[in-house]
């Protein structure tokens, strides 16, 4: 079976002073029919990667295959079979929703009826509304509709939900799930971990232009070792401060880190780890100020892998 997307050792360097290497040796394989998420902080190289796959940007080096075809040789054929939404496209505000979709439809040899696409993205009531009068969520659904109108096999969506309110995000998730259910391949970028976890069959965590981890969200979390996270803070009572390394040897604890005052343990079995933790604190004479437990998320995967939070982009001091 042909992979929907295959990138091998992709490099993109922007000339300048100093030259910027946005993508440095990125490998990626997206199977047909899956929903794949590129996850990473701003500036990680997600957009550059997706634009190379879309044929909008040329890689400095490396190999890209889309639906078994190549840019530079099969451009027209690839364009007929992919549908994209850019991170930010301001479609003409003076055109109506149905007019915009008819325009996009006319570019494709075959595709869906604009009315049908409008129904799929639930914009029936706005069909004759001008684009300028749509809300952010409605515009984003229109952008996805423009990607859909050519009836593509592969959808490439760059941050489809960024800046949307929770309800609009959920509407888009439903839409993307429905597309996947119809057997389309979807590649999307996001910096929301919850989105990737709920929506994607597989994710690749991208940082500094490289894939640093890849797999199903569950696999990545399992690779952390512990699927539970115990977070606690201590009373500042003049005792010598406790370090994360002092706790790494506790039973059932896979890793420990400290963000400012907060300790964060990734734990396989909370019922084993928690009594041991309390006992250790009693021995050192520290008193708990607060303690919570939760399931591990992709955010924890990312922080463990890079020592940074996804949304900050900056290394902690």
């Amino acid at each position: 079976m042909i992979a929907a997307i295959r990138c091998i050792n992709l490099v993109k360097r922007y000339e300048g002073r100093p030259p910027v290497e946005a993508v440095r040796g990125l490998d990626l394989t997206v199977a047909s029919g899956e929903c794949f998420g590129l996850l990473g902080p701003n500036g990680a190289g997600k957009t550059t990667t997706i634009e190379i796959i879309e044929g909008l940007s040329e890689p400095t080096a490396g190999d890209v295959e889309v639906l078994g075809m190549r840019w530079g040789r099969d451009d027209a054929a690839i364009k007929e079979r992919i549908g994209i939404s850019l991170q930010e496209t301001r479609l003409s505000e003076k055109l109506q929703v149905d007019e915009t979709l008819t325009l996009f439809r006319s570019f494709y040899r075959s595709g869906l009826d604009p009315d049908e696409v409008i129904r799929r993205v639930s914009l029936e009531e706005k069909a004759t509304t001008r684009v300028g009068k749509l809300s952010g969520g409605q515009r984003q659904r229109l952008a996805v509709a423009c990607a859909l109108v050519g009836d593509p096999d592969l959808l490439l969506l760059d941050e489809p939900t960024t800046g949307l309110d929770p309800q609009s995000r959920r509407q888009l998730w439903d839409l993307i799930r429905a597309l996947r259910a119809q057997g389309r391949t979807v590649l999307l970028t996001t910096h929301y971990m919850d989105e990737a976890e709920r929506l994607c069959d597989r994710v690749a965590v991208v940082d500094h232009g490289q894939v640093i981890a890849q797999g199903t969200p569950r696999q990545l979390i399992a690779e952390l070792g512990g699927e539970h996270i115990v977070e606690f803070t201590l009373d500042a009572d003049g005792r010598p401060p406790l370090e994360a390394t002092d706790l790494a040897d506790l039973p059932a604890v896979y890793s420990a880190r400290k963000d400012a005052d907060q300790f964060c343990l990734s734990v396989a079995e909370p019922h084993v780890a928690l009594p041991a933790l309390l006992e250790r604190l009693r021995q050192t004479g520290h008193r708990l100020a607060g303690l919570t437990t939760r399931h591990a998320s992709l955010e924890d995967v990312f922080v463990t892998l890079t020592g940074r939070h996804l949304r900050d982009g900056e290394a902690p001091p």
Binding site: L56, R90, L103
Partner: protein, 370 residues
Amino acid sequence: MNHEFDSTTPGIAKASLASRRYWPLGQLILARLREFYREPEAIFWVYGFPILMVVALGIAFRNKPAEQIVVDVQQEGAEQAKVQFVRDTLQKNKIFKVQVNDSARCRLRLRTGKTALVVVPPSSAGGAYEYIFDPTREESRLAQGQVDDALQRAAGRVDPLPIRIQTMQEPGGRYIDFLVPGLLGMSLMGGGLWGVGFVIVDMRIRKVLKRFLATPMRKSDFLLGILLSRLLFMVPEIFVLLLFAWLAFGVVIQGSLLVLVILILLGALTFAGIGLLVASRAKTLEAVSGLMNLVMLPMWVLSGIFFSSERFPEAMQPFIQALPLTPLNDALRAVILEGASLPQLWPQTAILGSWAVGSFVLALRWFRWN
């Protein structure tokens, strides 16, 4: 639109899906037309502005029945009977507008341009009549001659040659006749540059160009769509301007309409090509506006919109004639005012044609989609 075939009747929907034809060029033109007609400001600038120009300039430079010559007669220091003589003589002819004033007031009025000439009658018999005026002012020199003739004749001079005066004033030679073809050329230039250049840069900024590039849309369809929609907007624009000039000022087209249409199309294409060239790389609206003003300003001044380009020194003429608007304006005037035929206009059409071809070739080579 077609809500009758909902999900309940997939067979019909499929059938209509297959039968419905889409014509990308047509859709691109339609989209541009819709964007344009839904923008009231654009409509004003394209259609209202040239008409306002014609009205304003037509009024400012209208042909007055016969311009009156304002003459001041200085009262003090002059013999009262002589003052009386000058005033009565000049008042007999309606062309003069006479005022009797004191010396200071006369000079002030002369200095501020309110009067063309000051006549100082002599203080005693046998003294000379004095004319005070600024020789660099054309109307003052004219006034001096006319006033002198009138006074000399009234004093008994007999002209030795019999003369007959015939006045001519027919459409074709007035300022408004000169102006309308110039404004036509000007709106072809502005419309082409703004209508193509600005629109493309705006689409580049909004990333619509980039979005289109990711579809199978043919680039030639896109550029052709911009061009053809521009030609379509132009039809009412030109029609309204010429109709208005005809109804309000009686400006008539002497030459063939076909030749005029060909010239207008050529001019529109040329400036659309230049608009495309200006927009080929610009990344911001400020950059493209600046570039367009840079391109248009020399032609506004030099290419004979409001006054003939021949007023500029001989040394500048080769440059002026090479600008695209100059041959366009010259050719439009030749057709509208003199009824020139296309073969007579070959030098102008050749210059325009080279601009059109050259700008398109360069623009397509330099054009950046993202």
